[in-house]
């Protein structure tokens, strides 16, 4: 047990260690006073904390709402609506995340909540689409034999459709994470902080060290989240 837990956490711990090493190194070896001011343990932790909150809140919201709406749209009565929504989602996906942020800035205003809402809406798209597609693509023969054996629609959904759609839903969630981690670095443009703040400060001051610290921490965050979700998926999906 301890051994499997270790194997499970080995990669994330390694990545976290890498993040710590990068942070400690850059904080202790600033190239000049600007870097020293921009990169302190406080500023890095604040940006990281803001970044994680941005991502976690928007991702959890997106997973809950995306999966629920995806399920609803996959019901036979809403199937055609679902097809329509799928198209809208595909178009929505092509709007740059910066534009979504800008849209919500002009409509609602500034700050963390606006950024979370924009990220949430943006991350919902792949999750919703994949949930819908995953359920719709469960073979008819499987659904029919489940019906024929006397399973209720709800039991079919929970015992057959969702488990079979699970790998596709997870793929959607992983896509959303990748999108989210990129878009979250833009949240700083509307005063929502996050690791993007380090990146943009570094860019505007032409201090690569600040940019690299922010960017590598953002990348590590995304890789760790993706890895953990991949592990969960491998644990759950044993039948392929």
């Amino acid at each position: 047990m301890a051994k499997t837990l270790f194997r499970w956490l080995f990669v994330p711990l390694l990545l976290i260690a890498a993040g710590i090493v990068i942070s400690v190194y850059t904080v202790n070896n600033p190239t000049d006073s600007l870097v020293a001011r921009a990169l302190t343990y406080d500023s890095i932790l604040k940006s990281l904390r803001e970044h994680l909150w941005l991502m976690l809140v928007s991702m959890i919201g997106a997973i809950v709402v995306g999966v629920l709406v995806g399920i609803m749209l996959s019901r036979p009565k809403l199937y055609y609506l679902g097809r329509g929504v799928e198209n809208v989602v595909n178009v929505g996906q092509t709007i740059p995340s910066l534009a979504i942020l800008a849209l919500f800035f002009t409509i609602i205003g500034l700050g963390f909540r606006v950024a979370v809402f924009a990220l949430f809406l943006y991350s919902i798209l792949p999750i919703l689409r994949n949930t819908f597609a995953g359920i719709i693509n469960v073979p008819d023969s499987i659904i029919e034999s489940a019906r024929g054996m006397g399973m209720s629609p709800f039991r079919i959904l929970t015992l057959i459709e969702l488990p079979l759609a699970f790998p596709i839903i997870v793929a959607g969630i992983r896509t959303a994470i990748v999108i989210n981690v990129g878009a979250a670095t833009l949240a700083t443009f509307i005063a929502a902080g996050g690791l993007g703040e380090l990146i943009v400060i570094g860019l505007s001051l032409r201090r690569d060290m600040i940019v690299l610290t922010g960017a590598s921490l953002a990348a590590l965050t995304a890789i760790i989240l993706d890895y953990l979700i991949g592990q969960v998926e491998a644990k759950v999906v044993k039948w392929v």
């Binding site: 073979p139 023969s141 499987i142 029919e144 034999s145 489940a146 019906r147 024929g148 054996m149 006397g150 399973m151 209720s152 039991r155 057959i160 488990p163 079979l164 699970f166 999906v237 044993k238 039948w239 392929v240």
Partner: protein, 370 residues
């Protein structure tokens, strides 16, 4: 047991009804095979019995009760259901698949577990070996067996089977058919069986309902269907070579006891004795069994020319195929044609030698018939 009365089914958007004013009665313990070309309404008819499709008009009675007034979920829980694509749940193990209906009926865990093992054994699978596997890890034939085991797990009195042996090769299909008939002899379910294959219908059915364009053309026993087809359509369906089709109706064990066959040799019989036995009769080969009467192979007259040992065991040629005594004569014929031989060895379930059937025996049967 099942009574279909004036049932019509019209799908939305379709001009012509899929099933027209159908009347059919199926007796308890019978296998009724619905047969006909695709689009004839046979599958629709079957699926109205468990209300996967709702009839547009008419009534269906099961055990005297109006099925259309029952809760469809409760109705289905007591009707075994096997469809053409089998529809095993790929994300569940074989055990979990077979436990589907017991779980829906909220059986206690222990009871379910026992029943699952029993069902897997019944269809010839090893619960220990196969139970924990996923459907993708089984062969086509094994999956068909699981489909049958799953449908029968709670001993439903009625079973609906839509081409359940459709997706496997002919030899495996014959084997599955025979096994299923053997099981049916024990359990005596009322079965509605859909197929487009008239040979399968003749072999499996106690009665055969021939359908065309949504209407019932003839409902009769296989024998009556062969000897007195109701019209041109039925006689073209059963084909001209009805005598050969009759081979489907006769099981090997029915003729095996009347045949006079040389005793099989034992593995430790001396070569000289075998040579003597062959010389004294006009046969050219002899079957060889071990001490438990299990079939080991065959020795032909030519094999003895090469001197390789003293005992029969040293000369044995292995056999590619054998048939069980509850297979039909048609199965025996298939195996002979497949192997390119004029005979086939007959064994029981434990692989013990029962006798040999030759092409001549089959010819005699067909001749008697005419």
């Amino acid at each position: 047991m099942i009574k279909i009365e004036n049932v019509t089914k019209k799908f939305p958007g379709m001009e012509i009804p899929a099933v027209k004013d159908l009347n059919l009665e199926i007796k308890e313990g019978d296998i009724c095979v619905l047969v006909g070309p695709s689009g004839c309404g046979k599958t629709t008819t079957m699926k109205m019995i468990n209300r996967i499709h709702e009839p547009t008009s008419g009534s269906i009675y099961i055990d005297g009760q109006d099925a259309l007034k029952m809760n469809p979920i409760k109705l289905r829980l007591d009707i075994g259901y096997v469809i053409q694509e089998i529809g095993l749940f790929p994300h569940m193990t074989i055990e979990e698949n077979v436990a589907t209906v017991p779980n829906e009926k909220k059986w206690p865990k222990e009871k379910t577990k026992k029943k699952v093992a029993e069902m897997l054994t019944l269809v010839g699978l090893d619960p220990e070996l196969h139970g924990k596997r996923y459907p993708s890890e089984l062969s086509g034939g094994q999956r068909q067996r699981v489909g049958v085991a799953r449908a029968m797990a709670t001993d439903p009195p009625i079973m609906l089977m839509d081409e359940p042996f459709g997706a496997v090769d002919p030899i495996t299909r014959a084997k599955l058919q025979n096994e299923f008939l053997r099981i049916q002899e024990r359990v005596g379910k009322t079965i509605v069986f859909v197929t487009h294959d008239i040979d399968e219908a003749i072999k499996m059915g106690d009665t055969i309902a021939v359908m065309r364009d949504g209407e019932l053309v003839q409902h009769a026993s296989p024998n009556d269907l062969l000897s007195a087809p109701a019209d041109e359509f039925v006689s073209s369906l059963v084909g001209r070579n009805r005598s050969i089709k009759r081979l489907h109706l006769i099981r090997i064990r029915e003729i095996l006891s009347d045949l006079d066959r040389p005793k099989p040799a034992k593995v430790d019989t001396s070569v000289d004795d075998i040579r003597k036995q062959l010389d004294e009769s006009d046969i050219r080969s002899v079957m060889v069994v071990d001490r438990d009467n299990k079939l080991k192979g065959i020795i032909g007259i030519n094999d003895l020319k090469k001197k390789t040992g003293e005992q029969a065991a040293d000369y044995i040629q292995e056999l590619d195929q054998s048939v069980t005594s509850d297979a039909t004569l048609n199965d025996a014929l298939s195996v002979m044609l497949e192997c390119g031989e004029g005979y086939v060895a007959v064994v029981n379930e434990d692989d013990q030698y029962q006798g040999t059937i030759t092409l001549g025996d089959l010819l005699n049967v067909v001749k008697e018939d005419e």
